[in-house]
């Protein structure tokens, strides 16, 4: 049985006063319109969200979102796997095709309503309460330790991190739905960015965004520009870096990537572009290596050579990634697949990767505790 994305939609990522239901509706209606469907023509709905409870005091989101489709009583549920919530929800949608013909996936998140130390604490809930949070390990601190480990082992430099940031900010300026669209970030801005958790400075960190993204996943292909989900895999690992042997790589990503490539029947060398989970610049480097796009320690060679740019040999995050496209946590994994769909349809506008036929989306929860990898292919 096949799995096809037959509709996609997303809101702009970035701060907004719109409530979750409004963001969710905007993305869902875009996706349904794209699929030429009415709301009552889907058979199940999966809602991906991370911090609805702590940030908005709102759980039971599947029922909340039933309010945007009055009279529809299809099965629905909410999926939470920290920052991988979206990727995990898409994987669930693929699994659910065994029972339901069309599944609507809606990723939605509001982060702008809570600020400062409280928000850092809430996002920190994706780490271990005892092993990480009690020891002050915020998310920047965790990825800073990954960066330090990577630098020590492979000689990665802060300049390499800056190159990732500059590239993704440049890409975001070609993406009208990106958090940093029309906000140019220069070397000067990066130099002036304050240290957050050494060696990560402000522009090594993704912004926190509000936003939503939606997909209609179907077991049947109906049109030429439907995009096939050729591989969908999920893997997990212990939650804290303190529980791991290797802090320069995420075993969950390697595992999920291996399964997704095997299911798709491809090798990493056949990938034309990748949307990877660059919540911090170092995460893009680690992702390129864990996805097998580069050998360990060699992602920086590709980055220094400009290979990961839109017109490079191996385009990574043409959307601007999380880094500059924005990170509306529950929506992010869904949004990455929206980008791959646009690219494989040849509909990505100024940021179109020429001739893209196979794309990979990579969604990570925590510091590699959860990893979802999808391989998508153009059917035409």
């Amino acid at each position: 049985m096949g799995a096809f994305v037959i509709g996609m939609g997303k809101t702009r990522f970035g701060p907004t006063s719109k409530p979750m239901f409004e963001l969710a509706q905007e993305a869902a209606l875009d996706a349904l319109r794209d699929a030429s469907l009415q709301p009552d023509e889907v058979d199940a709905i999966i809602v991906a969200n991370f911090l609805g409870g702590p940030n908005e005091g709102q759980l039971h989101l599947n029922s909340v979102l039933a309010g945007i489709f009055p009279g529809v009583h299809v099965p629905s549920w909410r999926t939470e796997a920290a920052c991988a919530s979206g990727g995990v929800a898409v994987h669930q949608a693929v699994l659910a095709l065994a029972r339901y013909r069309r599944v609507l996936v809606i990723g939605v998140e509001r982060l702008s309503g809570v600020v400062g130390t409280q928000l850092a604490r809430n996002i920190g809930m994706a780490g271990d309460a005892i092993l990480d949070v009690a020891e002050g390990v915020s998310f920047p601190a965790a990825y800073a330790l990954v960066a330090q480990s990577h630098m020590m082992r492979f000689g990665t430099t802060t300049r390499d991190l800056e190159l990732v940031s500059l590239k993704n900010h440049a890409n975001a300026n070609l993406n009208p739905k990106a958090h940093f669209y029309l906000k140019k970030v220069t070397q000067g801005d990066i130099d002036q960015g304050p240290m957050v958790a050494s060696p990560l400075r402000l522009f090594d960190c993704c912004p926190i965004s509000d936003g939503a993204a939606a997909l209609v996943v179907s077991s049947e292909r109906s049109r030429d520009d439907d995009i096939e989900i050729r591989g969908s895999a999920l893997a997990s690992d212990v939650i804290s870096l303190s529980q791991r042997e290797d802090t320069t790589s995420f075993a969950a990503t390697k595992e999920a990537a291996g399964r997704a490539y095997a299911e798709a029947g491809i090798t990493p060398g056949e990938v034309d572009l990748a949307e990877v989970h660059d919540c911090f610049t170092i995460a893009e480097i680690v992702a390129m290596e864990d996805l097998g796009l580069c050998r360990p320690g060699e992602a920086v060679d590709a980055i220094r050579a400009g290979d990961s740019g839109i017109n490079g040999r191996l385009p990574v995050n043409p959307s601007g990634g999380l880094k500059a496209g924005g990170h509306a946590i529950g929506a992010t994994g869904v949004s990455q697949i929206c980008e791959i769909v646009l690219q494989l349809r040849g509909a990505a506008g100024l940021r179109q990767v020429p001739g893209a036929r196979v794309g990979v989306a990579h969604s990570v929860g925590g510091v590699g505790g959860t990893s979802a990898v999808h391989v998508l292919g153009a059917v035409r």
Partner: protein, 367 residues
């Protein structure tokens, strides 16, 4: 942050689960002793519970070969040796003198932080009642095993000799110079010569309190706030003869209790109460002058100053008799009559309306 190993299959766990998920037999704890820092990040953006920046997150590899992450308040470099001895295990036996509201709250805090506590009070009956109340409160958050451990770590006595093994003793008796001097001198006579003696005074002169002590170099102030289990501030202060080491240890001890120490000069009422007392007194004066009723004054100040509680409700919580002591002391020591308690406070204290603890103050409380 130990490692738990299955003696059968050798799998290791970082959680203190009771059995191996495969072999269903009890795990063996392998405590770590030494470790080396392998990656360090200086964190400059605070998170709830970690407001003081910078701090350092250290990824360390133990001599046994597994990773752990430790927070450090001082700079650490890659390659530095990390020790398993934390501040938490220092000063493990603590004496508390005084069974009032603050004394009880400090005892509760110490028990939740794993300390052995020797609690001194004037009467056995009063202490026993206070102990029951503290254990009752702990029972809301601790399970039976933890509560039993807390009870076992708490000793009550009305004899200063019980303080002989204490690493630190905190005096929390009534806020009167002579009473505190007596309590401190008696405690010191029973204590080890290397132990630290701290007063929880909120306003008295530390030099006056130290006057009768044989070892003023081991003496200083740890001023907790009510309730000590929840309030994150501890004002720390030293007298003119406190040693540098004692001074450092006062802050370190406060930090080991999860508190944020703020060092203040040994001036009357320190920083917080010096600012608070005029506010409370002025709120009482507003009430005297019919600016509004008590609830309205409290609501206005709460909303207008973003305080969690109104001044009159706070006065009730602190206790009006305590306020009188602090305010009189401020007026005397600063030679400024504006600090004197308002007549309404004095009338209420004379009538036995002391606030929450007597069931009536500016508000009425169910007993």
């Amino acid at each position: 942050m130990s490692l738990y190993k299955c003696p059968e299959c050798g799998r290791s766990y970082r959680y203190s689960v009771s059995v191996c998920s495969w072999c269903h037999i009890p795990l063996v704890e392998e405590a770590w002793e030494g470790a080396t820092a392998v990656a360090v990040s200086e964190v400059l953006v605070p998170m709830l519970g970690h407001e003081d920046v910078p701090y350092w997150c250290v990824l360390a590899r133990t001599h046994e070969g597994y990773n752990l992450i430790l927070k450090s308040d001082v700079a650490v470099s890659v390659g530095d040796a990390m020790s398993a001895v934390s501040d938490d295990t220092m000063l493990s036996e603590v004496g508390v003198i005084g069974s009032g509201v603050m004394g009880s709250s400090i005892v509760e805090l110490l028990l939740t932080r794993g300390h052995r506590v020797v609690w001194l009070g004037r009467t056995s009956a009063g202490l026993t009642r206070a102990k029951v109340r503290v254990l009752d409160r702990l029972g809301r958050t601790q399970d039976e095993v933890e509560l039993q451990s807390s009870a076992q770590r708490l000793t009550i006595s009305n004899d200063d000799a019980a303080l002989a093994a204490c690493d630190v003793v905190i005096e929390v008796v009534v806020e009167q110079l002579q009473a505190k001097k007596d309590a401190l001198r008696n405690a010191e006579a029973a204590m080890r010569s290397d132990a630290i003696l701290a007063t929880n005074t909120s306003g008295l002169s530390l030099d006056d309190l130290a006057a009768g002590l044989a070892r003023p170099e081991k003496f200083g102030a740890l001023h907790f706030f009510n309730p000590a289990t929840r309030m994150r501030l501890v004002e720390t202060a030293v007298c003119s003869r406190t040693s540098q080491q004692t001074s450092l240890e006062l802050d370190r001890f406060a930090r080991s209790l999860g508190k944020i120490p703020v060092r203040v000069a040994a001036t009357p009422a320190f920083a917080v109460n010096r600012a608070l007392m005029p506010l409370l007194n002025e709120a009482v004066r507003e009430l005297e002058e019919n600016v509004a009723d008590a609830a309205s004054i409290d609501e206005a100040v709460r909303l207008g100053l973003n305080h969690p509680m109104g001044p009159l409700a706070l006065a009730d919580l602190i206790g009006l008799d305590v306020l009188v002591e602090i305010m009189d002391n401020l007026a005397d020591r600063l030679s400024d009559e504006t600090y004197r308690p308002r007549p309404l406070i004095l009338r209420m204290v004379a009538a036995g309306e002391l606030g929450r603890k007597s069931g009536k103050g500016f508000y009425e409380y169910a007993k």
